[in-house]
Symmetry: C2
Subunit: 259 residues, 2 copies
Amino acid sequence: MQFSDSDKKLSNKDIKLIRSLSQKKFRAESGLFVVEGEKLVAEALDSDFEVVSVYRKSEIGDDAMKKISSLSTPSPILAVVRKREYSLEDIISGPVPHSHSTNEIIVALDGVSDPGNLGTIIRLCDWFGVKAVIASHSSVELYNPKTVQATMGSIFRVPVIYCDLSETLGEFGKDGYALYGTLLDGSPIGLENVSAIQSQCGSSIIVMGSESFGISHEIRDLIPASNRLLIPPYNPDSHSESLNVATATAIILSFFRLK
Amino acid sequence: MQFSDSDKKLSNKDIKLIRSLSQKKFRAESGLFVVEGEKLVAEALDSDFEVVSVYRKSEIGDDAMKKISSLSTPSPILAVVRKREYSLEDIISGPVPHSHSTNEIIVALDGVSDPGNLGTIIRLCDWFGVKAVIASHSSVELYNPKTVQATMGSIFRVPVIYCDLSETLGEFGKDGYALYGTLLDGSPIGLENVSAIQSQCGSSIIVMGSESFGISHEIRDLIPASNRLLIPPYNPDSHSESLNVATATAIILSFFRLK
């Protein structure tokens, strides 16, 4: 993919190329994705990601920005950024996000399908010092514009890899990671198991299931019975069906990080 | 607002009326709102809300459903429902959601502006047995279609009232409610204050601020210094800006409900 030399000019070919990046197929072919908004573009420039080009409304004009933006209200700035591929080795040997970390956490996603949920989960992982996100191939694509925007910039700080989840969890298991997951037949989380989890000083992987089906049978079988967790509904009489997967991730991570 | 006699016929006038309900102005004039999807319509019918009319795609046809739906993919069923107004007295004297409740909780929203966030918070309140939501007039309207859909049916179970928040919080204070709020200069929540909060066996109101400005100065002054809470970022080095207000509500409620 070739862009015009100057950031300030936007050819029809550029417009076509940028617009094509709203489709997964063209993101896959080009290895590029789009970031919009002052904060996200600033974070992209401040990160190890390669920013291929930056377009400002003040330079290219309102109409051109409307043409390349995927937002209903285009922001003043848009950047085309090159995807970054991480390997499992990068993650295992990579730095822990926060120097005072004691318990290393990895979040595994088994088929999360909503782009907004994935983005929100990545933002949460950043907040709670999660080392990486590993996602099954059945999970929604990371560079979907809705996912990118929902991360609020955390996409540039939290490594995400797609993999054969059951195989990869097996490898982490050999490396001494304890495997946890939220399951309907799990033990209700509370003050008691918080202490148990935290006294276990090693590294953990927490599996979150898909919005519709939860954790698949294959992955469930890998999680020791004592590590199957349930966020108990406070009100068992209620028809309240379930928590959103991003909300459940927030609660589980806050429990793992409680001091 | 008058609808045709039969649910199975949909006149052009009906279409116009239903479409108008996507606008706040017409919802205010008519006192009606729209609910879409099997689950939400079933919960409306199962609730104390008055369901004015129900339209099924199998009866009115695809084209008519597309005309009245506000969803990009119309669901097979849509209902027009009458708003329900609660008073402060309804809430104070109303039943606690769950018979085994010990600590009654009310969630107060000080200017939450995103419809999806409001809906998600109402869904959470249902899950955690919150008695009611009280919202400042500056908060987004409850019957916005995005809010209604995001509640996943909890809108029919959790009473929501709009009020002068500082005046209302004062009244609850006189009734013995303890006032809490999440503030940047608050005490980090953790195992210690969980016990303190839970040993205080009375009723609580938890104030959550707006997405952009947090809790207003006026409301902040009402919250005792010891009740100002902070969800600590695990990783202070991170640029991770803040948690989404719905996510923060989930974490705070899970702490108040921890057993």
